[in-house]
């Protein structure tokens, strides 16, 4: 029991730590940076994107595996990870819009990063549209897997490369320090002690959610085969 589910316990403990110590840890208030307490969103908004990227990465690995051996199990893994990734992406956008409303004045300011993630998510939404439009199950799985790989290679230009090339309200744009996720200027070491556990915790819980879906799908499939 413990050997199999240690990571679920870890995700619970890490998120408990994130949600409590994340509000207690001392955050820097450098002059000229109007972030104030909202920098604590680093423990909630940013991990959504980290978890989303992990989900999409796992999904593309299973898509490639599916194309290699045509196993229905790999197809299920791949699809369900995209589904969770999409939910996390939407949550990331929504939480980002709330933060932006108080930080930048309006929920959507057409920032390079906002637009890039919106495009990337729309590409991933189209994955389900494409799969839903095909009747034949094998075709659905195969074209879905190919599209998944395409979508993955659109994701990283959209969220990693494009926002760095132009001026952005997010950190890490042209002429500013850091990467598109965080700014080293207002991230202290004590914040890192919450940030990394938050990244791991949120990622683990998203994997946990996905495995539940996968298990249901596998049982469904077994049932269908038996009938």
């Amino acid at each position: 029991m413990l050997r199999k589910s240690w990571w679920k316990i870890a995700s619970f403990l890490l998120l408990l730590y994130t949600c409590s110590y994340g509000f207690l840890v001392k955050v820097p208030t450098p002059p000229g940076v109007p972030l104030k307490e909202t920098i604590r969103n680093l423990f909630f908004h940013v991990p959504m994107w980290i978890a989303m990227m992990v989900c999409f990465t796992v999904s593309v690995v299973y898509a490639i595996k599916y194309l290699r051996n045509q196993s229905a199990k790999d197809e299920i893994y791949s699809t369900e990870f995209v589904r969770t990734g999409n939910v996390l992406g939407v949550l990331g956008l929504l939480t980002g819009m709330i933060w932006a409303n108080y930080q930048w004045g309006k929920p959507w300011s057409g920032d390079a990063k906002q637009n890039g993630t919106a495009i990337a998510l729309l590409i991933y939404f189209a994955y389900f549209v494409l799969k839903g439009s095909l009747q034949d199950e094998e075709k659905q799985a195969r074209i879905g897997a190919v599209y998944n790989i395409f979508a993955y290679f659109m994701l990283f230009p959209c969220i990693w490369i494009l926002p760095r090339l132009v001026e952005s309200l997010h950190p890490g744009g042209m002429g500013s320090e850091g990467n598109p996720g965080l700014n080293p200027k207002d991230t202290t070491n004590s914040m890192r002690t919450v940030m990394y556990p938050a990244f791991i915790g949120w990622t683990l819980i998203s994997v946990w959610i996905t495995t539940l879906r996968i298990r249901v799908r596998l049982i469904q499939q077994k049932q269908l085969v038996n009938e």
């Binding site: 104030k36 959504m48 949550l91 929504l94 709330i98 108080y102 959610i209 539940l212 879906r213």
Partner: protein, 75 residues
């Protein structure tokens, strides 16, 4: 079961509108309202609540699908 689901979703959507209202009221004045008090800490609270609502909404949808599927199987 369907009735319970309906009641739960009514409550969930009621909560959703609460968060939306909270955002709208804040859009105008630059200072000294609830969301901007305490160094804008409540923005973080709003973010956490959104994530929680999102996850619960997802669970609700998936549970609904599971229930529907079980009904098909049992028939």
């Amino acid at each position: 079961m369907n009735k319970i689901k309906r009641i739960v979703s009514v409550f969930l959507f009621a909560l959703l509108t609460v968060t939306v209202n909270a955002q709208e009221t804040v859009a105008n004045p630059e200072n000294a309202d609830f969301m901007r008090s305490n160094g804008k800490l409540y923005v973080v609270v709003a973010v956490v609540v959104t994530i929680l609502l999102g996850l619960f909404f997802m669970y609700l949808v998936w549970t609904g699908r599971l229930v529907r599927w079980r009904k098909i199987i049992s028939n």
